[in-house]
């Protein structure tokens, strides 16, 4: 019976160690969803400071206190991806490779890659045709969309980046780093819609 006990002790020890490792690996993966943004937080988010030239700036403190949800949280990014389709962004920006509007995938951000710049572009519009969405989207939606737009052009895919849609495919999805794939293939790859083998 002594030996039996040592077996179960051993099993418990092993379980504890494994649990520790597993929690460590998954702890940073927490995917809590905030479905309702408090109105005071929303209006605070709206009050970010932008540099005078409209390029770059600082998000409000509350944004960091929330843990930068619009750049790192899978749920917000996927909501942003929905909004990209629903608000007709693809009419000018296509699948991210541009059209009438600039590309998000060519590594060149006219107003910098910071999220506040993108939020400002969406909210207030920009010269040469970018309309303001101030009256058509809520603050939360604008931030969600901005986070997604930033994700499209990321050179290193974010862990939380969205996967492909159940639609016709035109380029690798955001979780595969389309900007990097298309950049590696050069401006006129043989199959610009394809990535390298996994």
């Amino acid at each position: 019976m002594k030996r039996e006990m040592s077996y179960s002790n051993g099993a418990f020890a092993a379980a504890a160690i494994a649990l520790g490792i597993a929690s460590g690996a998954l702890g940073w993966l927490g995917e809590s969803r905030e479905l309702r943004l408090d109105p005071p937080v929303a209006s605070d988010l709206d009050g970010f400071r932008l540099m005078p030239n409209g390029i770059s700036g600082t998000p409000p403190e509350s944004y960091f206190a929330l843990g930068k949800p619009y750049e790192t949280d899978a749920y917000n990014l996927s909501q942003g991806k929905r909004l990209y389709a629903w608000f007709g962004c693809s009419a000018c920006h296509g699948d991210g490779r541009g059209g009438a509007g600039p590309s998000f995938l060519d590594g060149w951000w006219l107003y910098g890659p910071e999220i506040v710049s993108i939020v400002a572009s969406v909210r207030d519009g920009r010269p040469h045709g970018m309309p303001a969405f101030r009256d058509r989207m809520t603050t939360e939606q604008i931030w969600q969309l901005a986070g997604y737009v930033q994700t499209i052009g990321a050179y290193k895919p974010k862990v939380a980046a969205p996967s492909r849609n159940d639609d016709k495919q035109t380029r690798p999805a955001e979780n595969r780093g389309p900007a990097k794939i298309l950049f590696d293939q050069g401006p006129a790859g043989v199959h610009p819609d394809q990535g390298p083998s996994p």
Binding site: R164, Q169, P172, H191, D193, Q194, G195, S197
Partner: protein, 200 residues
């Protein structure tokens, strides 16, 4: 409970050979699992084909050369493979060593040919469902070639070491040869499916 000895086992061999051996049955069971997997992949292929307006979807039928060459090579490899199995039964260490080296080579060359099969499909996995299933079928079979090659290499090392010359090791060689037969046998329907069904 008291025991009453009614049977004497002393004269039994100390190792079960061939179909008597548990590892032979274990290999068979794993082949059944993987065979089911292969069969299901073919079912998925045919299912997707039945839904598609035309097949292959959005591309040309695959080029025949690499796949056919690989098929021929796999079929040819059955001859030395069966010989290795026979030599293992005869426990002929020298011939088994030679045979394993030959089989290792005959395992590596198909891997190289397989490298040409993927581009011969004229489609990538992320273009459409046809691309997805052909890449998965090829990939599934490739992992089987790969694992068997590794097993052959490890066995070859063993047979050249001091652990080689035992009936148990020869039994392992026999099971490995059986597994290679399985790898070849499963490829034939997949080959027909991947290369000839799109041409029907």
């Amino acid at each position: 409970m008291k025991e009453n000895i009614v049977l004497d086992l002393t004269e039994l061999p100390a190792h079960a050979l061939g179909t008597a051996s548990p590892s032979w049955w274990g290999t068979l069971a794993f082949m059944l699992i993987e065979g089911t997997g292969f069969a299901l992949s073919i079912v998925i292929y045919l299912y997707l084909m039945s839904l598609a307006p035309r097949w292959p979807l959005g591309t040309l039928p695959p080029d025949l050369f690499a796949g056919s060459a690989l098929t021929a090579l796999l079929l040819a490899s059955l001859v030395p493979n069966i010989l290795v199995a026979r030599w293992a039964r005869e426990q002929d260490l020298r011939k088994v060593r030679l045979g394993l080296v030959v089989m290792a080579v005959l395992g590596i060359v198909p891997l190289i040919l397989r490298g040409f099969e993927f581009p011969a499909m004229h489609i990538k996995w992320d273009q459409n469902a046809y691309g997805s299933i052909v890449w998965v079928m090829l990939g599934l079979h490739t992992t089987h070639i790969l694992t068997d090659v590794i097993e052959t290499l490890v066995l070859a090392c063993l047979m050249f070491s001091r652990h080689g010359d035992t009936p148990r090791r020869f039994g392992d060689v026999g099971d490995n040869a059986m597994y290679w037969n399985f790898v070849v046998a499963t490829w034939l329907p997949m080959y027909a499916c991947l290369y000839w069904i799109p041409r029907l």
